[in-house]
């Protein structure tokens, strides 16, 4: 602004190159963010690329040349090795039962609770909601020892799917998502159904749930990644290899048997790819569902 008397050369230049200059200036302004974002994306994605590369190497190559695909050094043997060590179909099935069980109970009980907290009036509702908020601030790890004493030593649910699922039976974020969704629906919808004499259960199953498909999909995705990726709790509950979810079996493989394998990293990384793929694919397919508002409530509790 101080050089207001001398802008002529630039202006002249601009005039001469009108079709080119504005885009070039705009693209220069865009260049820095784009460069930063690209560096960021490399930092975030490289380990995943390297995971796949490492999982396919016959001879482990951790040098710089190993970061590039080498057709002469490709193999699927690592997948066979990890399957022999931890029985991939079985551990995947266990992960599926653990995750599927938690999803099922979360959907059934979460929809009921979310509907009641949003649309029904009963004494003590506010208390239930506040208790839910308060209790969610508790770190799960604080409860790890008492839960272990109760579930594994008290009810003898060690090495059972039920013991694995219990602490994940109702995902609080899902209850939140359902409550928020049902609150947004117009009041008249529910009132006219009530006037027609429909029971609340009927209103929930025939009107609210069919409308709630987007909320249900969000809740499914958010609930899925919890148990699928979880290590600590199923690790405490399962000692038998044939009941361990993949994350637990792979972690035990990393900490115990890896040293005995000829190519431990190849097998570890092949297992890591199998563990990562379902969650990553689910995320990529439904990534528009990962909205900041839902995730914010997930952290706040």
């Amino acid at each position: 602004m101080a050089t207001a008397t001398q802008p002529q050369p630039a202006e002249v230049l601009d005039e001469q190159a009108t079709p080119i200059a504005p885009p070039s200036r705009r693209s220069r302004r865009r260049l820095w963010p784009l460069l930063g974002l690209t560096v960021g994306a490399l930092v975030f994605l490289f380990p995943f690329y390297y995971m796949v590369i490492g999982a396919l190497q016959r001879e482990p190559n951790s040098g710089i040349s190993g970061a590039f695909p080498n057709p002469a050094n490709l193999t699927l043997d690592n997948l066979r090795d990890i399957d022999q060590a931890i029985n991939l179909p079985r551990t995947l099935l266990n992960s599926g039962i653990f995750t599927g069980g938690a999803l099922l109970t979360t959907l059934v009980f979460g929809l009921l609770a979310g509907y009641a907290l949003a649309r029904l009036e009963f004494r003590g509702k506010g208390m239930v909601f506040n208790a839910m908020l308060l209790i969610l601030l508790l770190p799960f790890q604080l409860l790890m020892v008492p839960l272990y004493v109760m579930i594994v030593r008290g009810y003898l649910l060690g090495d059972t799917y039920l013991g694995m699922i219990l602490p994940y039976a109702v995902n609080a974020t899902a209850v939140f998502i359902f409550r928020q969704f049902f609150l947004q629906l117009p009041k008249e919808l529910f009132e006219s159904a009530r006037l027609d004499g429909a029971s609340e259960l009927r209103i929930l199953t025939r009107i609210a749930i069919p409308l709630a498909k987007p909320a249900i999909l969000t809740a499914v995705i958010v609930t899925f990644i919890g148990p699928w990726n979880e290590f600590l709790w199923p690790f405490l509950v399962t000692k038998r290899l044939d009941l361990q979810p993949l994350a637990v079996a792979l972690a035990n493989f990393i900490s115990n048997v890896a040293a005995r394998q000829a190519n431990p990293f190849g097998a570890i990384l092949a297992g890591a790819v199998v563990l990562a793929v379902p969650a990553v694919v689910l995320f990529l397919v439904f990534q528009r569902r990962f909205q900041a508002t839902n995730l914010g409530s997930a952290i706040k509790g």
């Binding site: 975030f44 839910m132 990393i254 900490s255 990293f265």
Partner: protein
């Protein structure tokens, strides 16, 4: 007239006692049972255990578990391993919070500009967050191994001993790993916060002669303050809860306990060695610490 007005204004007794939809109790009952059985009761049980010499005995055996007052707490506070674990939480937060706030805000600001491939960038930052820790730790182990790619690139600059077995590097690498894994979430939260800052504020600042840096510090930073509070609180909770990283990445809190975490200590003391009362006391001290940090944060960051 007056009588009918009285009857309509006074709903039946059951409705006054229970509310308009008593069926709501049936609907929330499973969730309430879950909250009580999985959260409220174990919380009380944890407090009880922490004041007793609670240890594991053979199933069915009747053993005495005497009340020991604050013994478990004083033992923990005097234990150098516990102190090291608490120090590690502080190191974790000291690395994680500034890095998350700075890089998260920079990436979110860049994403907020009109740029191509936005969906791709958003997705790529988020992928570590949705992936199992166990899977990505496998890659980090390979990357930071003594003959791993990171040391191959660094050559003579590589630390000796290597990252994960070096007592001054083990903890920072864990903090770096956690920051990398969680950052995508905070980028999204910051992006949402940035989009809520009204454009007029930037225009007004520009009219007042504020440059880009001044606009950033005077408009952007205060505008995203609630998200920053959230980042600090979430980082504190993550810092108090990390377990998989020291268990797998640095081989059970190694080298020589340099990366031990409170939860790893709860696991080894409470579950492996069966000293459940002692482990419960560690858990309660940890929870009190997290609550204190959260309250201070709320107070300091939300005062303005």
């Amino acid at each position: 007239m007056a009588a009918s007005a009285a009857t309509t204004s006074r709903p039946p007794l059951a409705r006054r006692l229970l509310g308009r939809h008593p069926v709501g109790y049936l609907f929330v009952a499973p969730y309430v049972v879950f909250l009580v059985a999985i959260f409220a009761y174990p919380l009380g049980f944890a407090v009880y255990m922490s004041f007793h010499d609670y240890f594991f005995a053979a199933p069915g055996a009747i053993v005495e578990r005497p009340f020991v007052g604050l013994d478990n707490f004083t033992t923990a506070l005097a234990d150098p391993v516990f102190r090291r674990a608490m120090l590690n939480v502080v190191i974790f937060i000291a690395i994680n919070v500034p890095l998350t706030v700075f890089v998260g805000l920079v990436l979110a600001t860049a994403l907020n500009a009109a740029i191509p491939f936005r969906t791709f960038f958003r997705a790529s930052y988020f992928i570590p967050y949705v992936t199992a820790s166990v899977a990505v730790i496998g890659v980090w182990l390979w990357l930071f191994n003594s003959d791993g790619l990171v040391n191959a690139i660094l050559g003579p600059l590589a630390p000796e001993p290597s990252w994960l077995v070096n007592s001054s590097w083990a903890m920072p690498i864990i903090a770096l790993f956690a920051t990398w894994k969680q950052l995508g979430l905070y980028v999204l939260l910051y992006l949402a916060a940035l989009q809520n800052i009204p454009e007029e504020l930037y225009e007004a600042a520009e009219v007042d002669g504020a440059g880009p840096v001044r606009r950033f510090t005077a408009v952007t930073v205060p505008g995203v303050r609630p998200t920053t509070t959230l980042v600090v609180i979430a980082a504190t909770i993550t810092g108090a809860n990390f377990f998989t990283e020291p268990y797998l990445l640095t081989g059970r809190g190694g080298p020589a306990g340099a990366s031990v975490s409170p939860v790893l200590l709860i696991y080894t003391q409470g579950i492996e060695q069966g000293k459940a009362g002692y482990a419960a006391a560690i858990g309660i001290l940890l929870a009190l610490g997290v609550m204190a940090v959260s309250l201070v944060n709320r107070y300091v960051l939300e005062r303005s």
